[in-house]
Amino acid sequence: MSRHALGKVIIALVALLVLGVGGSELYAHRHYKEPVVLGPGVTRVERLSKYHPPLKGTANDSLVYVLEGEEDGGAVLVLGGTHPGEVAGILAAIVMVENAVPIKGDIYVIPHISRSGSTGTQPSGGYPLYYHIPTEFGARKFRMGDRVTNPLDQWPDPDVYIHYPTGQSLSYVEIRNINRCWPGRPDGTLTEQTCYAAMQLVREHNVNIVIDLHEAELLYPVTNCIVAPSKSATIAVMTQINLSGDFDIHTEPSPVGYRGLSHREIGDHSDAYPFLLEAPEPFLDQPTGPKTEALLLEGVDEFLLAAGKRGLLFVDYDETGKSIELRVGRHLTTTLAILDEWNFNFPEAEIIFECPGYYEMLENGVGAYLRNPDAVDPSRVVYD
């Protein structure tokens, strides 16, 4: 073998080694299962494929936690992880599963509606693979996911995505974005089928309210807010007024001309009242320092602080950052406040449940409301 050929072989072997070792971390991340402890309110656990059988066995056959109250009432569906990088929504949903106690009506919680996305990473994003929430019994570990469905589960993309059923053109990557694929399509892509399954759940159980938990950049005007279509607007505005003493929150109207979003399509294609909640997540902004786990959980960034001083941000931002406690707490308390307002307007379909909220999160931390999977009956632990 000539020196030239030998050199090529060595370079190829080094490249394979780097890809093999580096890729093994990505493989482990894709297959990591998060433990979830079934709290006192959980009466059964389903999968989305119950509502759309073709999803069975796919990466998006997500777990649906059902919490049924002793008294009949209305029903609410809470969606976490539409965008798996927006972690406060996922954690808020898991806190509900592990702590909420339903009194009247039913609660359906899907912490990972885009489960596939939670098993992927964002190439060029430089994200951490996991994040850890400290608890008294040690850290609980969660997958840090990508915004869209993992291409290992849905590929290739078209050169342009055409939304069903409106025909609106969107960027090609949006075909893997749960929040551009509502109301879904039974024979569509994995992402469209996932939305369709959730819509079937809404229709089958006559769900009254759907709350989609998100996070947004500080440079993005649609943050610290409830996004609502006109049918949900009164409840959203009253919720905003009721919460004005607790934290900054405002109502954004759901644009009629921008299709595929949960706050637009769920309301248009069912009787449910949709709401999309946005909490501020500095990690998502482009002008930040390294994308570390600390930035994700503490939300303190010097570049953003400087941007804030120049008036470039749409939220108040100081050295205290935007912690995970604040963001999870906002989502929980806003959800409870929406239900309060719903109950006031529709007493015939009341939904009442107890769950820790904003002040509990700020005081005790999110970890205080995550249960120890090793300290409970194994039949009360599921791996997601």
Binding site: V18, L19, V21, G22, G23, E25, L26, T121, P123, S124, G125, G126, L129, W155, P156, D157, P158, D159, V160, I162, Y164, G167, Q168, S169, L170, S171, Y172, V173, E174, I175, N177, R180, R185, G188, T189, L219, Y220, P221, V222, P255, G257, Y258, R259, D285, Q286, P287, T288, G289, P290, K291, D301, E302, F303, A306, A307, R310, L312, F314
Partner: protein, 429 residues
Amino acid sequence: MFLTVSLILAVIVVAYIVAQSRLKLSVELAMLVAALVGAVVAGNYLPLRHIAEGSVTYLDLALIFFTATLFMNIIKASGGLDFTVRAIMTRFGNRRAIALILLMFIMLIPGAITGAGSVSVLVSGGAVAMALASMGISKQRIAAIVFLLAGLSAVAPPVSVWAMLTCAGTAIPYVGFEIPLGVPVLVLGVFTVLWLGLRRSEGPGDEAVALPEVAPDVTAGRTILPFLVVFGLIVAARVWPWDMPILGLPLVFMIGAIVAYLLNARKVNFFQVSVETVTQLLPLLTTIIVIGIVIQLLTLTGVRGLISYAVIAMPLWVIFLLLPITIPFSEGVLGFGGAAVIGIPLIWTFNSLGVHPTVALSGLSLLWCLGDALPPTAIIGRLTLQTVGYKGSYGSFLRTCAVPWLVITAVGTLMVVFSGKLAPILVFS
């Protein structure tokens, strides 16, 4: 953090200079070494996962490059390219302006449909270059025409990836872009092709190249059918989006390549053409793999965030003034990533200052397309030189682009600055 990240950026720049000038490494390897040094200085001593992850950032693009080039190489090997050029020039060769404008449309269509200027270069670039050569235009000017039209094709509606990506990140519907994108592209395309092509070149060796001879067994049907298959599949996906399976551009081009091969199986050695295609594209594929890794490492170290901050933190008049530099260079460094890193925060900033986002984004798209000729990636610029067969220096190619480049820059920048005044004229939906 400002100081730390700035120092890391300085180390990366120094490492790049040393790797290129002292170690004599290629641009791609020097970038990779510099980014790795930056990662180590930032405390990421063995970022293997980031290298693996970053290397697949542009996997789809790499597959499109390979399959589209294979498709065109089979057409070329079968004599179809010669046939196409001869057909165009025999019919319109005497009416120079009309022939040039027709060639412009042939360049614009593939990129307009797919959103990728590279597809225009790969699908139409070879045939258009031969036609232009037969009109007595120098290779230098041919390269400039092909590159600039390919760039404009990527801006042209219905698919402008820069606008779509920025819309997706800013929750602006991708509607109402047909006129603000389409009208400037057509006007600038006509200007470009006439400015660079109307005069014959008069340098040594710039004589009109004789039209290529066409073998008698090359027919219109055999030449056109593979193109019809490719465009048919692309258009069908648009017309029946919910009935057609999603093939993806790589498979569409592969199907086109197989059809072209089956129609010309006696003349074309599929395996040999495939090997030659890989050899031909190796430098380009290397570049996009390395760029993916570099961007990942720049994000990991915070340098990407620092650059993004630096752009949006400037006063508005400075932002406007520097748009002709920052926007094309963001494309040169980050590819479509420039739309995410700079485009999205910029549109948010503009939005809060009353700038009309649709017109402004259309103007920015005109600036972004120019960046595809800029280092360090210069992906479409290099692809163009390869397709056209221009052997001169890269600098001379860029100099030839200068006048249309400046006009496109002026139009793009003015569209951003005066977006509010232009909106009632250009935006109807």
